[in-house]
């Protein structure tokens, strides 16, 4: 599903490579934790997967597409097959829960009929049915992140990328989000989650990929967060 082959990424303003000859493969339907200290290359990995950046060297395949050969105007179609969740939720404050999720479908030209069918379904999946008319600032942090997950998943993507989705949440709420991501993973969606949350990684016992200075230092199935802290 995601294949990095000898990928390096150098940012023009930095001396050290953000990614240094990274090779890894993530299969369809896997749940993968991406761990490592700040600046180890986790975010760069996610940005390269979304093709927000192009690698300096190496080859990347995502969802069957060779990103090197993907033309600019086809990039939106790649992104429709990838859902993304961030630490800061990134909801539109002046839109309701329903509108926030519907927005993701509107802007890729989905018909109103499909929106009225899919949005309530995904709201039920994330456990927010009944709150569709609330505005984001009327929700708790955990609920806001559920909206963000619903928005990422409403289009049934092949891959869900999560960049520290529990970073702003307390431990109890985080567990709820993790259960939600696990449920999404069981529908066959590949989930890649970058995190610093040790207890979550240790509890879930999923594949763990650890990066340091842009290099792969550990790739362990059913792993734990590690010994660095």
């Amino acid at each position: 599903m995601i294949l990095f082959d000898n990928v390096s990424k150098l940012y023009p303003t930095q001396n050290q490579a953000a990614l240094d000859s990274l090779s890894l493969e993530i299969e369809k339907g896997e749940f993968v934790f991406l761990v490592g200290p700040s600046g180890s290359g986790k975010s760069t990995f996610l940005r390269l997967t979304l093709r927000e950046e192009k690698p300096t060297a190496g080859r990347i395949r995502v969802a069957g597409k060779d990103l090197h050969r993907l033309s600019n105007w086809k990039v939106p179609h790649l992104r429709r097959r990838i859902g993304t969740v961030f630490q800061d939720f990134r909801l539109l404050p002046n839109k309701t829960v329903f509108e926030n999720i519907a927005f993701a479908l509107q802007v890729i030209g989905k018909p109103r009929r499909q929106i009225n069918r899919d949005v309530p379904a995904v709201l039920e999946l994330v456990g927010l049915d009944g709150k569709e008319d609330r505005l984001p600032d009327q929700l708790s942090g955990g609920e806001q992140q559920r909206v963000a997950v619903a928005r990422a998943f409403v289009n049934r993507p092949l891959i869900l990328l999560a960049d520290e989705p529990t970073g702003n949440l307390d431990p109890g709420t985080s567990v709820g989000i993790m259960k939600l991501l696990d449920r999404i993973n069981r529908t066959g969606t590949t989930v890649v989650m970058a995190t610093h949350d040790q207890s979550i990684v240790d509890q879930m016992r999923k594949r763990v990929i650890e990066l340091e200075h842009g290099k792969l230092v550990r790739d362990q199935s059913r792993g734990v967060y590690g010994y660095t802290r």
Binding site: L50, N72, W73, V75, P76, H77, L78, R79, R80, R81, I82, T84, R90, L92, F103, A104, Q106, V107, I108, G109, R151, N155
Partner: protein, 301 residues
């Protein structure tokens, strides 16, 4: 494409940047008014030239008894001299037609022109010069004819009406140049202003556009509200510019110039109507193009 979404984005965008939008509309209005003024002056110059070139002629005045000057040393023009002049004119390739006007005819014309003044009473036909009136095939090519006859014996003076009109044409050309120069300056200002307005609008909406990029909205869909926003501002500005042009033509040409200077036909609102579609299209397309170029820099994929 969801029309309602695009429409609401445009209206909120224009409202949020109200001051910038107003500035943009004004600059576009001035650009379009100046461009239109330049076009009108050009068509004015063309109609004036067309009007006059049909009537333009070269007059070859011949010596009479009272003439002085190099060609008239022998007194009044002789028959032989007159024949030589006529032949020179008729054989010249640029000459279309030659009319002869004798002293009696010159006197009649003179009397008509100075009908109510006393001067008619003291001038007699023999004091006036006989002349050839020469129509040219191409009014621009008068130099050759003038120099061919001006040295001949019996020729007192050769006058070319084009020389009299030259200052008028130069003035029109100058006005046109000024109008186009102002247009260019205004267009530069408009481009910079459109760039800034769009950049501000893109910044205001970075949250929305960020999400749109993330969920895979096409570039066209993301950029469309911005481009249409510029197009609407451009259309508003162009309409205002055209209205200003109508007012200018009505007030300056219609009320002031045309009634007082009747030696040619002047531009009127029909000419403005003819230019209106082009000016509107130019204003809208131009604004859209400027915003599109800005967006390529500020709304990266």
């Amino acid at each position: 494409m969801r029309f309602q979404y695009v429409l609401s984005e445009i209206t909120t965008g224009l409202r949020r940047n109200l001051t910038m939008t107003i500035a943009l509309v004004i600059v576009v209005a001035i650009s379009i008014a100046m461009l239109g003024a330049g076009l009108l002056i050009r068509s004015q110059a063309d109609t004036t030239k067309g009007y006059w070139y049909d009537r333009i002629e070269i007059s070859v005045f011949m010596c009479n008894e009272y003439s002085t000057g190099a060609g008239c040393a022998d007194g009044a023009v002789t028959d032989a001299q007159r024949d030589v002049i006529r032949q020179t004119l008729e054989s010249h390739p640029e000459v279309d037609e030659v009319f002869y006007e004798n002293q009696e005819q010159a006197f009649e014309r003179f009397s008509e022109q100075f009908d109510d003044s006393d001067i008619g009473g003291i001038i007699t036909p023999d004091q006036l010069p006989e002349s050839f009136r020469v129509a040219l095939q191409d009014p621009e090519e008068y130099d050759g004819v003038v120099s061919a006859v001006s040295g001949l014996p019996g020729v007192q003076e050769v006058t070319d009406q084009r020389q009299l009109l030259e200052p008028l044409f130069r003035t029109l050309d100058g006005f046109q140049l000024v109008a186009f120069a102002i247009t260019v300056i205004q267009i530069v200002a408009a481009v910079l202003l459109i760039g800034n307005t769009i950049r501000l609008a893109a910044f205001n909406r970075r949250r929305e556009t960020g999400i749109m990029r993330l969920v895979g909205a096409s570039n066209f869909y993301i950029q469309l509200p911005f481009i249409l926003e510029a197009a609407i501002a451009g259309l508003l500005g162009s309409v205002l510019g055209v209205i200003a042009l109508f007012a200018g033509v009505e007030l300056i040409v219609g009320r002031f110039i045309a009634p007082n200077l009747q030696f040619t036909s002047w531009v009127d609102s029909a000419d403005v109507w003819a230019a209106t579609p082009w000016l509107l299209v130019a204003g809208v397309l131009f604004s859209m193009l400027a915003s599109f170029i800005t967006l390529r820099r500020y709304l990266r994929v």
